[in-house]
Amino acid sequence: MVSHVLEIRDLATHFMTRAGVVKAVDGVSLTVGRGEVLGLVGESGSGKSVTGYSIMGLVDPPGRVVGGSIKLEGEELVGMDDASLRHIRGKKIAMIFQDPMMTLNPVLRIDTQMTEAILAHENVSKKAALARAQQALERVGIPAAAERLKAYPHQFSGGMRQRVAIATALLNQPAVIIADEPTTALDVTIQSQILAEIQQLCREMGTALIWITHDLTVVAGLAQRIAVMYAGRVVETGPVNEVLDDPIHPYTRGLLGSLPSAAIPGQPLDQIPGSTPSLGRLPPGCAFSPRCRYATDLCRQEAPLNRYFSNERQARCHHPLSTVALVATPTHT
């Protein structure tokens, strides 16, 4: 049995709002292998970002991780006290956010913001920390790194800022990096550059990567495995080529069909009808059933369990679309 660097089982993160309980993440199970790239895909509101925050322990009140288990290199994170979590954050597991202009403090220099990431975990001299920061900047391809260290965030372009964020994440050589839509805010040309660079860096350093995005095309070229989320649950996982070529879940099929590249010129785009449900008022049964063209009464009444298929594929569906062989169905959620 391959030991995964990150193992999540039945993670549940709920938000206790005045309007009721919002189950942003409701029973998510994922695994990430050492050095593997996992694409976590879903529309906005699917719970993918909250999953990322939950792993980091950065869920803001009124949200809270209410159940499940997150094992990082064997260590259980759920229920861990704050001090220990803090030691892990930034060291064993790092996060990159969407908008680098907002994630870098505008009134502090880059070197300050990078060295503090090192100094928070190790007792090294400032000089040594600076040297490492400079090395990291050079690694992500920032020219004249020594001078750039003394600069402020607004003096960088968008792509460069994100590179700085990536460099910062890599500083302590974490086992896992969670990237929450890091290229969405960037130019298309820069996007692909950064994508390739991150891929190479992770391969070089053996760092696992969870790439959170709504863009299937990004995932296609980057990830080895993919997990598709809908309304707080993972509805399908599997090796990326297989899932994209031969989706099991109707939602995945729908996402693929609605891509502009899949469209036949002249024909209307194949959109999924309806809209994502409000997470505070989910329908009984399968959350996707109101929008699914294959839905039956069973789907509307009973929420499907996670089923295992061959080639390490999983999906939650009563009527799988693919002909791939079913291997097992657990009797509990």
Binding site: L58, G90, F97, T103, L104, N105, E116, A117, A120, Y152
Partner: protein
């Protein structure tokens, strides 16, 4: 950067010129101008002689030039009450007022900043709500009434602190200051606190709002993701961000501190410019009034200029690109 500075300087000069015109025409149009220069007790003949001697029968424009000339020579007439040149009188009291204002400003920072930050970090706690209610009281209460209460409590009932006057002064580099003696601090404690109360309330509200906003920013989240201690995050990331607008506001409020010192100095018999002004108003000592106004205007303009410069120095976004953030 230089062009920015020059532009602001030019603006400042313009404001001073405008004020000069306003003050002159204000004093001379409202009421008989002759009263500005002579004592109210002279008889009619002497008045007319003085008027002629001072050229007050000449056209108003000529009088204005005369006024400006006198201004540059530092001559704004003599005080009726004290007999000294008005401008010197005002300047001699300026030190005491500045001392009071500076101590009040320091109090505002020392008390207001930590309380405000606390209220911003833990907005739902009882103590935070208490602080905020306190701040409402702080700027609702009229300064003079607070002064009265302070005197009643600390001076009359408890007898801890003196109710009036300035403490012993020590000469430092030619300036008199009362801050180097215990006696001096005892005397300045109540009036400075009285003056500071409004600013403390302001500080609390500013610091709270700024802290709340800063804590929601993404860079705080990112700092947490890096594994920084919460206290470090507050100290390094949040503090620096809120200090910039707070310092600029405080700088501008310094002028209002000087203005409000009129009330505090009167209640506590503090020998500053404010008390001088009030006496001048009560006794119709117009040269002193004019001198005070001119001094205060120049002071304000200088303060505004300094604050502008300070802002551009503190905020790296402004400093490096030269643009307004």
């Amino acid at each position: 950067m230089l062009s920015f500075f020059i532009r602001r300087l030019a603006q400042a000069v313009l404001v001073i010129v405008v004020m000069m015109v306003v003050v002159f025409f204000g004093v001379n149009v409202v009421g008989d101008p002759i009263w500005m220069l002579i004592s109210p007790e002279m008889d009619q003949e002497a008045i007319e002689k003085t008027a002629a001697a001072l050229g007050l029968d000449k056209p108003i424009i000529e009088q204005f030039f005369h006024f400006v000339k006198g201004l540059f020579q530092g001559d704004l007439g003599r005080s009726f009450v004290h007999g000294e040149p008005a401008i010197q009188l005002v300047l001699s009291r300026m030190g005491a007022t500045m001392e009071l204002a500076v101590v009040a400003l320091l109090m505002a920072i020392v008390f207001g900043l930590p309380l405000g930050m606390y209220a911003g970090l833990y907005p739902d706690r009882r103590s935070s709500r208490l602080i905020m209610s306190g701040s409402i009281l702080g700027f609702s209460l009229p300064t003079f009434w607070v002064g009265l209460m302070l005197i009643m409590l600390f001076a009359v009932m408890l007898g801890w602190l003196p109710a009036s006057g300035r403490g012993e002064t020590v000469s430092v580099f030619g300036f008199e200051t009362s801050l180097l003696t215990l006696n001096g601090w005892q005397h300045i404690a109540l009036p400075a606190f009285n003056l500071a109360l409004l600013k403390i309330s302001l500080m609390i509200r500013l610091a709270r709002a700024g802290t709340r906003e800063a804590m929601l920013m993404d860079y705080v989240k990112f700092a947490r993701a890096k594994g920084l201690k919460e206290s470090t995050i507050i100290r390094v990331h949040v503090l620096k961000n809120i200090l910039i607008p707070i310092i600029t506001v405080l700088g501008l409020e310094f002028g209002s501190l000087v203005a409000f010192s009129v009330v505090t100095e009167t209640i506590f018999s503090w020998p500053g410019m404010g008390k001088l002004l009030l006496e001048a108003i009560q006794r119709l000592d117009r040269p002193v009034i004019v001198a005070y106004v001119m001094v205060v205007v120049v002071l304000f303009v200088v303060i505004n200029l300094i604050v502008d410069l300070l802002y551009s120095v503190l905020d790296p976004r402004v400093r490096i690109t030269g643009a307004k953030a």
